[in-house]
Symmetry: C2
Subunit: 362 residues, 2 copies
């Protein structure tokens, strides 16, 4: 069984940051204490910057509010969303670690069928540290897991797999449904624990949810931009989707792997479907054109870095999705700004005076 | 939970045949009696036709041995393998039913984690009667299962899905490993019950195992040719793989779906890895060229039926894989013979005098 352990060993303790977007006190961390306390947290405070977010004692964290984001990024802060959990990607940018785990503050520790508490972070790390198998489907799921392997008929040349860039975890209790499905099935709960991790095949897109997500920042970080959502934008709740589609096209191009499945977290409460519908309705139309766009997108072989891929993708977004709505031209510009800001903060991390977190530094 | 039930209702009783290739008495059917007895069996006897295969009392079956195959197909019998379980595809051809379930005679009833016996056939039928979702990946697995749905970000236009052509079941206990993996991991057993059914995405190939497999014969039957294997051929144990690769390319072209996952059967014994290596070694080399061939294969839009697709694929096999080994030219010819034989037996089923099974007819 994956995940659960009584006294977790904090693997990659100095190589991973936990990014949490929030508008409230972080009491939810109490339940995660045995698993998260050894790690460093990056808290991105959304909404009113004058509000004080309480973090339980004993956690090592830095906290950024909107004023911090504006001060650190200057005019480039325009690429970071406000009043939407999309703001979390600012945390990816200011991290200096190799790995990121991001989780919503309404997500709690889930239990596996044996009743053991699931160490979600440990499972994400396992997923990220073992290869993916995106080039051919393995019917016994992740061939790198204990007790599993490649089945008969799996080409030997493909068994080395690909480096894993992203680990997408799932949710027990409240499933990640869109507003129309929430409205139609208000009582549906996810009770099925599927004991599997699998690679999303090359060329296949999926809906990436940001609630319980880990990635290798060195391999794919600059593609993890959560877009322009929320305040002043015609759309919300598509931040993680947008990142997932861009990221997957780039992973496929660069030969990187994406896994989904374990670990589960316990998603405690359904968000308001009426509010969600208001945020989502443009996206519900637009995704009908966005998906075929990304399914057809190809990147030239000159795109050898995530940044180059992302800039190229922004051009294609402007050229092809700009016709769908002027919003996409603005988004394409923000994609470029995001990369500029990323490079500014990450190319010379030591000498960069901009990085002045206002929480207790690590 | 899927699968198990105490008194199974025999769904599709008159629309499904169970095809079993064998060289021995079918004592294994005793364990399956509660699930299989209402259905009609087609037994394809491999090896010495003078041997008598005992079938437990009370089963409704027809049985074909090599003499029957030769008599029914005449010169076209050359396309049916001998001394290899590939001979099972003869059963697909002589069936007149809409659905086929095929199972090996060393496969027994498995139990789910609650200890209930799994009605594998019932789960296959559920899989076949609900759509697939091959055009976009759903992270909560089969969205048509009870308690599940499409997640946020899944385009609404794709939620109708595709008709399901194939349901690929899995195995507890002895996993379906190739000879090298068997040799390296002689003691590995599959103990992980993964409670999931999922669609293999469009454009993705997988290793289809014939041990526990169901399909819609009307939708995909003519593509389910298990090739030339065994006696007189330079290869064995690639029969189901070959069918799976051809079938998947054709399903992708015709907009049909393929599911894998539940149901599990209990695979009782590992075959001899040394014998397997002898059968497989050519395949181990060849699959390195076969997979890229099928990954790149496209069918012209004129191919509007499975038969047309299959004939076109046979031409591409001859042209492109013929260079790998002369075996593939022979196989390409056999693919054409298979389709000719299929059409002969299936275009005018009532008036066809060739169909004279020697078992008790239904």
């Amino acid at each position: 069984m994956a995940g659960a352990s009584v006294r977790p060993v904090p693997i990659l303790k100095d190589e991973l940051d936990i990014v949490i977007p929030t508008i409230r006190n972080l009491d939810f961390l109490e339940m995660w204490r045995p698993f998260f306390q050894p790690y460093h947290l990056i808290i991105v405070q959304d909404g009113d910057p004058s509000k004080t977010i309480k973090v339980p004692e004993g956690f090592d964290y830095e906290l950024y509010n909107r004023n911090d984001i504006n001060r650190i990024l200057g005019p480039k802060a325009s690429c970071i969303s406000f009043k939407d959990s999309a703001c979390r990607c600012f945390g990816y940018m200011v991290s200096k670690k190799k790995y990121i785990f991001t989780i919503d503050d309404d997500c709690f520790v889930a239990k596996d069928p044996s009743g053991k508490e699931i160490n979600a972070l440990e499972q994400h790390i396992k997923n990220l540290l073992s290869p993916s198998s995106p080039f051919f489907f393995n019917t016994l799921y992740d061939p790198y897991r204990e007790g599993a392997d490649f089945v008969r008929g799996y080409p030997f040349s493909l068994r080395e797999g690909a480096p894993t860039a992203v680990s997408h975890g799932l949710w027990l209790n409240i499933p990640d449904y869109d507003a129309p499905t929430q409205l139609v099935k208000p009582h549906e709960r996810n009770t099925r624990y599927v004991d599997a991790v699998l690679s999303i095949p090359k060329g296949t897109l999926f809906p990436m949810c940001g609630m319980n997500l880990a990635f290798n920042r060195e391999l794919i970080g600059p593609a993890m931009y959560f877009g322009l959502m929320g305040d002043g934008q015609p759309i919300g709740r598509y931040d993680d989707m947008w990142a997932g589609w861009c990221m997957k096209v780039i992973c496929d191009h660069l030969g990187l792997g994406v896994k989904t499945g374990l670990p589960y977290i316990w998603h405690s409460k359904a968000s308001n479907p009426f509010v969600n519908l208001k945020k989502e309705y443009n996206g519900i139309f637009w995704q009908e054109e966005i998906i075929p766009f990304f399914q057809a997108a190809t990147l030239p072989k000159e795109c050898t870095s995530v940044q180059k891929c992302y800039i190229e993708l922004s051009k294609q977004v402007k050229a092809k999705l700009g016709k769908v709505d002027p919003y996409f031209s603005k988004l394409a510009d923000a994609m470029v700004t995001w990369i500029e800001a990323w490079d500014e903060l990450n190319d010379s991390p030591v000498s960069n005076p901009a990085k002045q977190p206002n929480g207790p530094a690590k």
